[in-house]
């Protein structure tokens, strides 16, 4: 393997794994925000306690996933400069702007507000606290917008002109309204919501299979998750199809590969336009990924629709087979989303900036040893993080709301002498309820 191939593998592996975290983060955070809002606007103290527990339970799973999402995202910001300095030489004037704006407008705010939300339980006023999670949700999607603008420029460069071998920005408006970015953004957002909805529905179904006593909590979660998944999975298929005309117009080779006809003609045309070279991406990989995505998309859409109908009079909760199906469905949106990523990114090879700069030409020229070492380290670390992430999510999802640590207040004994008093276990399940009880030391903070 050449150094460039290794750098490619490093980029693909790290981006692909990062993407799996991102899609769940984006899918869960609006649901957590909705739950938190409902809890905050509930007057009945018993119902509110249930809804707050629900928020903290799903918030816990979201925050675990966000932890690995943010650390892998940190690496992504550096990847371009590390291995692909040709990109900043050629397109830095254009491509750098959306990345800079993504960090300043979105990433910065998302992380700061999430930190405040995590530690704000019992410390911030309820309205402020709910606003924070909505800000986190909003900035997550703003972040996605800017990233898709940067990616859209690589897929279908617009709003620029080339002078002396470098691209210059001429039309910022065109860059921001790139059809290759916007349609894909909607598709990605819907796919994320599908993933989040299916995840919430699946975990809730698991708890009904285990005959949970938290019926109120999981019934509400299941309904919310299923409704979101049903609506979004319908539109994710529709918007996905809407991308085909854009691809046909902007990336004739990818279109030919997906239709499985006219690949030779597209190759001949690209050779005429850009000189000799191999312009055909891995055809089978792209086509199989497309099929996998389509089949999963349609299946999920159908199953969730049936399940929503079965929600009537809680029929669904009494049908164990249906619950098993919902649990089994959890991984499939992730697989489909990787398929979509492969179609979009592998399908445009060998281009880094379509029609302008090939991946090969953009490589930094770092030595093979260095790339081999960093590739091995990064892949190992990212895989370890993915395994840890899913192990922890599974563990906390199975344990249920009683084990939630997020927003749990420690018991506050009056400074027992160190090493003498055995530690009392934290009264986790009742922590939230204590927030609304006037006797709690925390409630004075909440109300002040």
């Amino acid at each position: 393997m050449s150094a460039a191939d290794l750098a490619r593998l490093q980029f693909a592996a790290t981006t692909g794994i990062h993407w799996l975290f991102v899609i769940l983060t984006m899918g869960l955070v609006p649901l957590v925000a909705i739950m938190h809002t409902r809890a905050a606007f509930t007057r009945d103290p018993v119902k509110r306690a249930v809804r707050e527990r629900m928020t903290r339970f799903w918030g816990q799973l979201y925050v675990i996933n966000y932890a690995v999402g943010i650390v892998t995202g940190l690496v992504m910001e550096f990847q371009f400069g590390l291995s692909w300095s040709g990109l900043s030489k050629f397109a830095g004037n254009v491509f750098g702007a959306p990345l800079a704006l993504e960090t300043l407008i979105a990433f910065f705010a998302e992380s700061t507000f999430l930190g405040m939300w995590i530690f704000g339980w019992g410390r911030l006023r309820r309205g402020v606290h709910v606003t924070l999670i909505w800000l986190v949700a909003l900035t997550a999607y703003v972040s996605a917008y800017w990233i898709m603008i940067a990616n859209g420029f690589m897929q279908h460069p617009v709003g620029y002109e080339v002078r002396d071998g470098a691209a210059y920005l001429t039309d910022f408006g065109a860059l921001l309204s790139n059809s290759s970015a916007l349609v894909a953004l909607v598709h990605v957002a819907l796919a994320a919501l599908t993933t989040g909805g299916v995840f919430v529905a699946g975990v809730s179904a698991y708890h009904f299979l285990r005959r949970t006593t938290e019926t109120e909590l999981f019934r509400g979660s299941l309904r919310l998750g299923l409704w979101v998944a049903t609506v979004t999975s319908f539109f994710v298929v529709v918007v996905g199809e809407m991308q085909r005309p854009v691809i046909e117009r902007t990336q004739p080779m990818k279109d030919a590969v997906l239709r499985n006809s006219g690949v030779a003609e597209a190759q001949a045309r690209l050779v005429r336009e850009h000189g000799p070279g191999d312009y055909v991406p891995w055809q089978d990989t792209v086509r199989i990924s497309m099929d996998v995505m389509t089949i999963i998309g349609n299946t999920v859409s159908t199953i969730t629709l049936i399940a929503v109908v079965l929600l009537w009079k809680d029929w669904l909760l009494r049908r164990r087979l249906a619950l098993y199906v919902l649990v089994a469905m959890v991984p499939f949106p992730f697989i489909a989303s990787v398929g979509g990523w492969v179609v979009r990114e592998v399908g445009r090879q060998p281009w880094l900036v379509y029609g302008q700069l090939t991946v090969e030409d953009a490589f930094s020229g770092v030595s093979t040893t260095e790339v081999a070492v960093s590739c091995a380290v990064f892949v190992a670390v990212f895989v370890a993080l993915a395994v840890t992430n899913w192990t922890l999510i599974t563990r906390f999802a199975r344990r249920g709301p009683d084990a939630t640590q997020l927003g749990a207040t420690e018991p506050l004994p009056a400074q027992p002498p160190a090493g003498l008093a055995p530690r009392t276990p934290a009264p986790l399940p009742h922590a939230t309820a204590s927030l609304s009880a006037p006797s709690s030391p925390l409630s004075s903070v909440t109300e002040s």
């Binding site: 300095s85 030489k89 830095g92 507000f113 930190g115 990064f378 420690e410």
Partner: protein
């Protein structure tokens, strides 16, 4: 001030902000097993660590200063970004691996099952603090000393460049300084017992910073260290740095915790000013007075204008909500602080 200088100032501000905020995170990460160990001051049986509690609510908001720095570096100075990051490849990779493991460990430590798992996370937290702290110091050393640029402007650091006495001295100085800075933060935010202990540790670490920093200064005076473009400016910044160290040490010794932390904040930010102002208008030198200057590093004028339009709105907003988060979680840790990490 021209637009490009303004953006360089913002870039410097973001990096300095990262050094100050990320710096105390790394310091606390390095020290936490010792500051919060069996002495009973910091750690209890459930594994809560007093030192980690101190940084917890700010941690997620601190790390993003680096992300914003990288974003602005790419957006406003793309011709520096590609050269710098690929030139420093092994160091940047080491920093990233340290960051990833350390950040993940801080956030997931509390989710672990037992004491054994927690020990693994603790080791990763220390690793994730020490490696970035040391490597950022090495980067500062290389930028002060100059890098071997080739005819096409690219460069590539090798083993010899990193393991020169001056660069190593800068690395160790920075690592020790971040540790002292972290101790200062723990002293500021923790209960009396832990705070007193952190103050003592901080004062001791500062003596180390002074010793290794003096070595770097001596090497420079004998021509084997930094080669500064603007000598007077550099001397002034270096003098300020020394004053900040001395002030921090004095304040630690006299239990002025706010003053001590303010002084270590200055000391962690000043190296960024030294690199920026000491070499201006050069951003990346091969030796004093030659290298990549700001005019060749900056993005196209049209792009810079668009970025400025956003920057005028966004930067004050960022400073506002960051200040809000510092205000919201002010005060010492303990009773009213929900723990999570």
């Amino acid at each position: 001030m021209s637009l490009e200088t303004l953006w360089l100032t913002l870039l410097g501000l973001l990096l300095a902000g990262y050094f100050v905020l990320g710096g105390y995170d790394y310091g606390v990460q390095m020290l936490h097993p010792w500051l919060g160990s069996r002495g009973g001051a910091g750690e209890d049986r459930a594994g809560r660590n007093g030192a980690l509690d101190a940084i917890a609510p700010f941690f997620l908001g601190n790390e993003v200063w680096l992300v914003a720095f990288t974003g602005v570096l790419f957006g406003a100075f793309p011709h520096l970004e590609g050269t710098l990051l690929s030139g420093l490849y092994p160091l940047i990779v080491a920093i990233l691996v340290g960051l990833v493991l350390g950040n993940a460990a801080i956030q997931l430590r509390g989710r672990s099952g037992g004491a054994r798992a927690r020990r693994v996370w603790d080791a990763l937290i220390v690793f994730g603090g020490a490696v970035p702290a040391l490597c950022w110091g090495l980067v500062i050393g290389l930028l002060l000393h100059g890098v071997p640029r080739r005819a096409d402007g690219s460069f590539h650091i090798g083993f010899g460049a990193v393991f020169s006495p001056f660069v190593l001295a800068c690395g160790v100085t920075t690592a020790l300084l971040f540790a002292a800075h972290g101790a200062g933060f723990v002293a500021l935010r923790s209960g009396p017992q832990l705070a007193a202990r952190a103050s003592r540790v901080g004062a001791r670490l500062l003596r180390g910073v002074a010793a290794v920093g003096a070595l770097a200064l001596l090497l420079t005076l004998f021509g084997a260290g930094a080669s500064m473009t603007n000598r007077v400016t550099s001397a002034v910044v270096a003098a300020l740095f020394t004053a900040a160290l001395a002030g921090a040490w004095w304040s630690f010794a006299h239990k002025h915790r706010v003053r001590a932390f303010a002084a270590t904040c200055c000391a962690t930010a000043l190296p960024v000013l030294l690199v920026g102002a000491g070499h201006y208008p050069y951003l990346l030198i091969s030796s004093a007075g030659t290298g990549l200057d700001i005019g060749h590093a900056v993005t196209d004028g049209a792009t810079l204008k668009i970025l400025s339009g956003f920057g005028v709105l966004v930067v004050p907003v960022i400073l506002a909500y960051q200040s809000w988060s510092w205000w919201a979680f002010r005060g010492r840790t303990g009773r009213r602080h929900p723990s999570y990490f």
